[in-house]
Amino acid sequence: VDLVRLRAVARKEWTQLRRDTRSMLLAFVLPLFMLLFFGYAITWDVRDIPLAVLDQDRTPESRALVDALMASGYFSVREELDGAAALDQRLVGDDVIGALWIPPGYARALLAPERSAEVQLLLDGSDANTATIALNYADAIVVRHAARMRIAERSGAPPVVLETRTWYNPNLESRHMIVPGLIAVIMSIIAAMLTALTIAREWERGTMEQLAATPVRRFEVVLGKLLPYVAIGLFDVAVTVVAGWLIFDTPVRGSIPLLGALTLLFLIGALGLGIFISAAIKSQVLAMQIAMVATYLPAVLLSGFMFDIASMPAVLRAVTLLVPARYYVSVTRGIFLKDVGLEVLWPQALLMLVYAGIGLGLATRAFRKELAA
């Protein structure tokens, strides 16, 4: 690699990029905008789950149970029903997610020895996610409520106490999990998008022959084209990390130099993939379609940002190894929230290194074929 030629290619690419004001604006402003937009919009914290209540017992005990659910802040009563028929009707509409049914005789069963009082929670399972969370909250609240009553009546303390402590994100704020993941997803999409057209464009505009006529080597072209984008990517990550920290209070507990180094590795791999697609496919339309299909949804769905990779089937887990965002999501979450270093992240670092090498290699090879043609 000749540094002078490399610099020349990088400068040419930079000049071309700078002239395209709209692209520049997007490259610099888009990530920050998206982080702000989604950081505010997205939350998984389920609060005020709308419930309908059918209390056929109408005793102080049954009201105490309803109050316990409401006091938690997780549920709010939208409607008091007065008959079992209304209950079945309720869930078909979408203004409540569940219905609590306290059958007659609840208080009697509660106070009688050898019996446990039964209450029913009917849930709209068509949103399985919210329903599961609602069920869990209700369950935990009812268990605690029963335990508290037992203590109040001195009928004995609960037999086992489960003390739970949550690490890394003690208040279980979904934002702390979303912001680091979001930075990784945004950057991997932007990386592919920025470079997916860079070589196909030269080809369609006919400047490819000019490039071929220069004494620049193929690898130098690929690397030179990569450099301006790497710089933009690093800048974007820095801005979004600072914004996440200032605006969303997302802690950055780990080492910042390590984050920088791993970001660099990740960017080279992701950008290299874009250049490879662009070089292998000469048409801008097709390159765009392939880049979109290959990077966009995989970055959102297969990176572990949304869905735990551990709970995917083995074949799919193997497929996720091809998604660079996957490594970077682990890196950002690990460094932001867990304060871990290379002792934990080395597999990710190693695989990103391999990815970067393969990305650059493939891009250079695909590019070589074209110049020969």
Binding site: L26, V46, S116, E163, T166, Y168, N169, M306, D308
Partner: protein, 378 residues
């Protein structure tokens, strides 16, 4: 039909033939159009799973008694927890969480069995990795319930059922086992169809401009409306085929139940596809270069996915964003597909979503035609 009408039809037919030839000329794009959606649905259908099962658990049991083992067995036999590591050093629990090998760590104190039989309420510690707040909440809830049940059983052996025990029976409608896949796969269909509709149209006009064939269209006798129709009809047909393909995969491969009528689903798909295509055309007429169109499409797609209720419930968004989602065709389409698939709903329950989507499709098409006229007259 008047001669003018017949001529217009003929012109549109020719235009459609030309567009189809262009669409299918490159064999590689056929693969992108018809194979990619299927692969995507299969991959993502497996990925979109938020069910919390087999949570990786690390255990430190200081007590080592039949009772403490029973506690661990109660957790694992529920199917919700799976022991991945056991150790006798508490420090290992922290390491297992740090490395991500375990999501929860259980520590049973020495003297657990003794305290339990003496009625002293031994405290068991559960450490939870809160990075994924969703999984953490659910796993914690399961553990609480399992331990409470176990404790109740243990103490009822001694004293009979204590007073004040409440049994919460849950029953979920429409999706009794609360499988997240059944809820998410129909949504993936919507996202894939939107992505493909945009991909097919976002470059349609701007490419003609960059390649220089827009002038040729300009001197042809086709009007702006006819051009738009000629561009939309073939792409809409391709998108409908894609929709059929991915829906078949969802039904046959993932066993997602389709409780509503196919006709309602097709109508919804047609409206949604037209809305998506006209958005793509709009992007295409507004952009100066293909790269710009690409960026604009990108700019639209991520918010459209995130503000659709696909991944994140809309109810928990701030007011302003909830209102923004109303402008998102994907949101309405997802409400429709989920309701048709899971609840067997029909047009009477969904007429609001249907009219909104229909309105968006009409307005989008009109706007794209108007923009296109502007482009042509320039």
């Amino acid at each position: 039909v008047s001669t003018d009408g017949r001529l217009a039809l003929l012109r549109i037919r020719r235009m459609i033939a030309k567009e189809l030839r262009q669409l299918f000329r490159d064999p590689r794009s056929k693969r992108v159009m018809f194979v990619a959606p299927i692969i995507q649905l299969v991959l993502f259908g497996y990925a979109v799973n938020t069910d919390v099962r087999n949570v990786a658990t690390a255990v430190v049991d200081h007590d080592r008694t039949p009772e403490s083992r029973e506690l661990v067995a109660a957790l694992t036999s529920s199917g919700y927890f799976r022991v991945v590591a056991t150790s006798d050093r508490p420090a290992d629990l922290g390491r297992a969480l740090d490395s991500g090998r375990a999501l929860v760590a259980l520590e049973i104190p020495p003297g657990y069995a003794r305290d339990l039989s003496a009625g002293l309420a031994p405290a068991v510690q559960l450490l939870v990795d809160g990075t994924n707040s969703n999984t953490a909440t659910v796993a914690q809830g399961y553990a609480l319930r399992i331990v409470a049940d176990l404790g109740a059983r243990a103490s009822s052996l001694v004293h009979g059922t204590p007073r004040g025990d409440i049994d919460l029976r849950a029953r979920a409608w429409f999706n009794p086992s609360l499988e997240s896949r059944v809820y998410n796969v129909p949504a993936v269909i919507g996202v894939i169809v939107l992505l493909m509709s945009l991909l097919l149209t976002a470059l349609a006009v701007v490419r003609e401009r960059e390649v220089g064939t827009l002038e040729q269209l300009l001197v042809s006798p086709l009007s702006a409306g006819e051009l738009i129709l000629g561009k939309t009809i073939p792409v809409a047909a391709v998108a409908l085929v894609q929709m059929t393909l991915v829906t078949s995969v969802a039904l046959l491969w993932f066993d997602v139940p389709l409780r509503g009528s196919v006709a309602t689903l097709v109508l919804a798909a047609a409206l949604f596809i037209v809305a998506g295509l006209s958005l793509g055309l709009l992007i295409s007429t507004v952009s100066a270069t293909q790269q710009e169109a690409f960026l604009a499409m990108f700019l639209f797609l991520l918010p459209a996915i995130i503000l659709s209720g696909f991944l994140y419930p809309i109810d928990t968004m701030p007011e302003l964003f909830q209102r923004l989602t109303l402008a998102n065709p994907l949101r309405h389409f997802l409400e429709i597909v989920r309701a048709i698939f899971l609840r067997g709903a029909g047009i009477p329950e969904l007429w609001v979503q249907f009219t909104t989507l229909g309105g968006m499709a009409t307005a989008g098409l009109a706007l794209a035609t108007w923009r296109f006229q502007q482009t042509l007259s320039r």
